[in-house]
Each structure stands twice: as C-alpha cells, then as structure tokens.
Amino acid sequence: MTIHPALSDFGGFYARTYPMAYRTALGICREGPMAEEATQDAFLAAWRERERYRGDGPPDAWLLRIVVNSAITVLRRRRVRRAEPLTEEVGQAEQRVPDPAESIAVRQVLDALDGRHRAAVVLRYYHDLDYASIATILGTSTGNVGSMLSRALARMRVELAEDGPPLPGAAATPLEVAHDR
C-alpha cells in the first residue's frame, strides 16, 4: 500500500484539517450533529481512500471534496425539518455580527439553499476559494460554479428582499435572473 507523503501522517493530517473540514460541513449542513457525522464520514472515507490520493492537487482540496460530498449525502439522507435551536447563546450574536436581524435573515436564506449551492457559497465566501478550486471540489466546471453562485445570490437577494431587512441599495437593484453559461 503506497500512501502519498502528504497523508502518511494521517493523524497529523486529521488534526490539522479537522477544523476546516468540520466548519465546511457545518456551513453546508447547518446543524452541528449532522456536520459532525458528515465530517466523520468524510475522514473515514479519506482514510479508506488515502491510497488513491496521488498528490495531483492540494490534500486539503482533496479532503474538502470528500467533505462536501459527505455533507451533501448526509443532508439527503436526513431530509428532516431542522428543529429550532434549543437555546440561544448568550451574547454571541452581539459580539460577532453587527446586525442580528440581518444575520438571522441570511441564515434563513442559507438554510433554504440546497446542499450543493450552499457548498458553493461556503467554499467561496468562507474559504475564499477561487472558482477553479471550487469547481474541482464540486466536480463541475468553472462556469457552472459562477452560475451556481449567481443563482444562490439571486435567491438570497429575493428572500432577503421579501423577508429580511432591506439591503442598502437593494430596492434600486432589479432582481437578476441567473443564467447557466
């Protein structure tokens, strides 16, 4: 069994990448336990498939692809209605998000996206990956990544315009319809 050097220290790889993997899964699943399950599944898959990693890309990107797929799989497996959080975290929102109402609205529209679009949003706006990297991870074309993000943003704009607080400039901005390229 030949293991690529980047994965030879799997324990170290796990320790280094777990936070990134978990946060990615959490961004897609939007629920801690589900994200934990997705992350575990992903690492389990990574462990099993580590022989197949040839170093033709960053190991983190290879892992992210597994995590995204795992999270989407878990989401599909558990097509259940998310329960409301049991309690709110004291003071957390005030510390981190200037406007809680906006943040809540954004969370709601994030929740409304399907797993794949949510993955694109997380990879783009949390991990700051470029379109090419996202395309590799999602197994699609760069153009399609742009379309997915455009559709996701368009939907979020609509949802926020309908339900959430007004976005500055939103009223003057006609809704855009995203097109597949």
Binding site: A15, M20, G27, E36, E84, T87, V90, R157, P168, A170
Partner: protein
C-alpha cells in the same frame, strides 16, 4: 456599497460568525503535537487568542446583564498540584476551552449546576476557579451523562477528565443516591493533577468512540487521544495515534469479532479504552468490562445506547434488519423484538424510567412520527402519541414528559407547526396533553425538557423561559422569565 457587495459582506460575516471557532464533537487533542498546525491559505488567519477573547467578551456581556456576580464557592487549587478538591455539589466538567485555530488551550470549563441556574466556571492559570458567563447553549443541564455525551465525553462508569493542557482534573463522580437526586444535588469529587508528557495518556479516557455526540447514534468513529488514541472502523482495523503518528494495529483479534448471518462484523467500543484491550478476552454478546472499558459485541447494528444504560442495562440494537430489540447489560436480549415499524432509525431520543421497565422512544427532532412507550420486559408498545417531538424526553415521576409540535396543512415535515404542547405519557395513564395554554399562544417552537430533580422541567416556548414543575399528574407553570 452595492447590494451585491453588501450581501457578500453579510454572507461572509454570518458564515464567519457561525463557523469560526466551531470544532465539533471530535476534536483532536489540543495539546497533542499533531494539533499544532500551521494555518493554511484555506483558513482565515486566526485572531490572537480568539478563545480568550471570546470568553472575555462573553463574560463582559454576562457581567453587563448582571448574571455573573455569584461569589466563587469552590476552593482554589493550584496547577501542578494534586489536591483533592473535596466533595463538591453540582460540579460537572464538560470540557476544556481551547482555541481550535491555534491549538492553544484555555482553562478548564466547569458546569456548575444549581437550582435553575447553570454557569460556566473556569480554572485559571493561577488555579483559581472563577465564574464565567451563564450558560446559554448547554441544553441538558442536570444529567451529567447526557451533558458529557453531548460533548462526546464521558461514559457511564468512566472517569471523567478535563485539562487545561497542564493540569488535569479528574471527576470521580458520579455517585448519586436517591436522596441526592431528590435534593437536586450532585456530589462530585474533583482532583487535579499534573500530567507530564510521559504519562500514560492512553489510559486517559477522552471519548466514547462510536457514540454520536448528540444523537446517541452508534457509528464508526475516528478519535484522537493524546499519545494513545485510536481510529476504529467497521472494517475492524485499529489505528492508534502516538505523538501524531498513526500506528496500524492491524485487524482486531478474532476473539473480538462476532460475525452474524450477514457476515458483517460489528463491534463497538463504548466507553474508555486503554491499552489492555488487546489482552482481554471479551465474551461475545456481552458488555465486556476491560479495565475501565466496556465493549458491546453483537452481530448486529447497535442502534443506540441509552444514557441510562448503566442503571437500566439497556441498549437498543438492530437485529439483522428484523427490527429493534433491547439488550441488557448481561448481554441477554429481551424476549420480544420490537417490530421495525415500532422503532425506527429515526428514533433518537429515549428515556428509561428509574425502574428500567419502561422505555420511551421519540422520533428524531423534526421527524413526524409516534412517540412510543415500551414495556422493556416484553418489547411491546403500550402507549403512543403522534406528533413531531422537539427536544428531549425526560421521566418525571411515573410518566415521560416531552413536547410535540402538530404539523400544519398537509402534515408534511416541512409544514409549519400550528399547535403543540407538553405531553405526559405514562404506562398507567397513557398519554395526554398537559400544556398550559396560558404559557404560549402559538405552537411550541423551541424548548427543552429536563429534570432539575425528579420533579422539574424547564421549557422555552416562543422564546421565553418558563419554569414548570411536574409532579405526578400535575404539570403547571410556576413562573417565567424573558429569555436572556
């Protein structure tokens, strides 16, 4: 700023708020060499001492709202010493703080349970315990096993540990007498000792492999524990991790394997694992005690293990796809297999009454289904209630109490709830709603049910905390306060 740019800022800010610092239930050990990683370009640069900053900010918020004024009631201990803190009341270690980005550790976090009050206590570098912010997110307050399970820590009879990286606190909890329970007290013995790098970390319990953090699912798992640790998969290869380096232990010895008709071996380690596992010979289909470890082996899929498994000696298992059954701690299956239709994979929350005879199982949160009350001696359901439970079920007196939402039009999972309430489900009185309508005008949306002692529940309908008592047949509102 254009609307697009503003939206992007909002998305980034929200994702950052939601995800930064999230670490899940299976973190690598923060003090391990493997945890000291560099920040990759895929991750945002860590804020210096984010953990400390967050705690300090939360603490200041708590101070501002006047909740962090309780004097310290615990004796001070010094790091590096091994004093016995004595028998304390209501102390449960729930974890240690650390910055997941930098790997730096923070103080030990203690959950001190009081009457209707929970608070994080922190063990500072000087060894003094200090009050932190009142807890707003820990949802299960008085069941230490459940609390610890939520964190992926603890097992029924395992020593519980927490550390700040230098000192380690061992909780030799949890001896509870009925008297203690009724008084709402929970004695805990806390000892603090320094562990050096050469200590036998592998004997240090740090997680219950295979037990899902919050949902009680038993599953394959990856767990890293300092210097020792393991990776357990259903393919039965065990890898231990030493100083960040995996050591493949190969196949689990045959004596650990019990193969069922499907030739699908399944074994699960429940509880702490130490190095003695390879030298012990478990008995198939038994809970096997291996030092401080327990192993449940059976040619089935373990469905879940009740937090009350120790006292009631029950676990739910899937038997070759034929249904669900309860297995006792001596390995004996209860006589009747619960039909698959009666208990499904969606069942996730269950509670066993103190006698061990009655078991209530609810569908997973968000799933519409029936909450059933089983006679554990026969496996037969004796009562059930339809609805969409939210939160957890708890035994209060002779009845299980939980809450349900009643879905709206269409009754689908996505239908907005239109009604709901608390439900008592008892072997003798079946089930009935006990919700006091004066508490909430609308459907139940957010709440939990927990026992402060054997006769209390707390729920938060419609964003308000409501303190209730349930005693025998009565469940009534005794007060309420705005949610923090």
């Amino acid at each position: 700023m254009t609307a697009d740019a503003r939206l992007e800022v909002l998305i980034r800010g929200t994702l950052s708020a939601d995800l930064d610092g999230a670490r899940g239930g299976y973190p690598a050990w923060p003090g391990s060499p493997a945890h000291r990683r560099t920040v990759t370009r895929h991750e945002r640069p860590a804020m210096p001492r984010r953990w400390a900053t967050g705690v300090l900010a939360a603490f200041m918020v708590a101070l501002a709202i006047g909740v962090a004024t309780r004097p310290v009631g615990l004796p001070a201990v010094g790091p590096g010493t091994s004093p016995d803190l004595g028998t304390q009341t209501g102390v449960t270690v729930i974890g240690q703080g650390f910055d997941p980005d930098t790997g730096s550790t923070g103080p030990v976090v203690l959950l001190v349970q009081g009457k209707w009050e929970e608070r994080i206590w922190m063990l500072g570098e000087d060894g003094y315990l200090r009050p932190g912010p009142r807890i707003g997110r820990i949802t299960v307050r008085t069941d230490p096993e459940t609390v610890l399970r939520i964190r992926g820590w603890g097992a029924d009879d395992a020593p519980l540990w927490a550390t700040d990286g230098e000192t380690v606190a061992q909780i030799t909890d949890i001896e509870q007498s009925d008297t203690d329970r009724s008084a709402g007290e929970r004695p805990a013995l806390v000892t603090v000792a320094r562990l050096d790098a050469s200590s036998d970390w592998a004997s240090l319990y740090l997680g219950d492999v295979g037990v899902g953090a919050a949902s009680s699912w038993v599953r394959t798992g990856i767990e890293a524990i300092p210097g020792g640790g393991y990776l357990l998969t259903r393919t039965d290869r065990v890898v231990t991790i030493h100083d960040g380096e995996p050591v493949d232990r190969g196949e689990v010895p045959d004596e650990f394997v019990t193969r069922g008709a499907t030739n699908h071996p399944a074994r699960y380690l429940i509880g702490p694992v130490d190095r003695r596992w390879t030298s012990e010979t478990p008995r198939p289909r038994r809970w096997v005690e291996m030092g401080t470890a327990s192993m449940l082996e059976m040619p089935t899929t373990v469905f879940g293990v009740s937090p009350a498994v120790r006292s009631a000696g029950l676990a739910w298992v899937e038997r070759e796809g034929a249904g669900w059954s309860a297995v006792q701690s001596d390995g004996r299956f209860l006589p009747t297999v619960v039909p698959a239709a009666g208990m499904t994979r969606d069942d996730s929350s269950y509670a066993i009454d103190p006698t061990g005879r009655w078991v209530v199982s609810t569908p997973r949160a968000g799933v519409i289904g029936r909450t059933r009350l089983f006679d554990a001696s026969t496996g037969e359901a004796v009562a059930s209630v339809a609805g969409q439970p939210v939160g957890r079920v708890a035994w209060l007196g002779d009845a299980a109490v939980f809450a349900v939402q009643v879905p709206g039009e269409g009754g689908s999972e996505d239908a907005e709830p239109v009604d709901g309430g608390l439900v008592r489900l008892s072997p003798t009185g079946a089930g009935h709603l006990v919700w006091d309508r004066s508490v909430s005008d609308g459907p139940v949306r957010s709440y939990w049910v927990g026992t402060d002692d054997d006769h209390g529940i707390v729920c938060t309908p419609d964003g308000r905390y409501t303190v209730c008592t349930g005693n025998g047949e009565d469940v009534k509102v005794v007060g309420r306060e705005p949610a923090p």
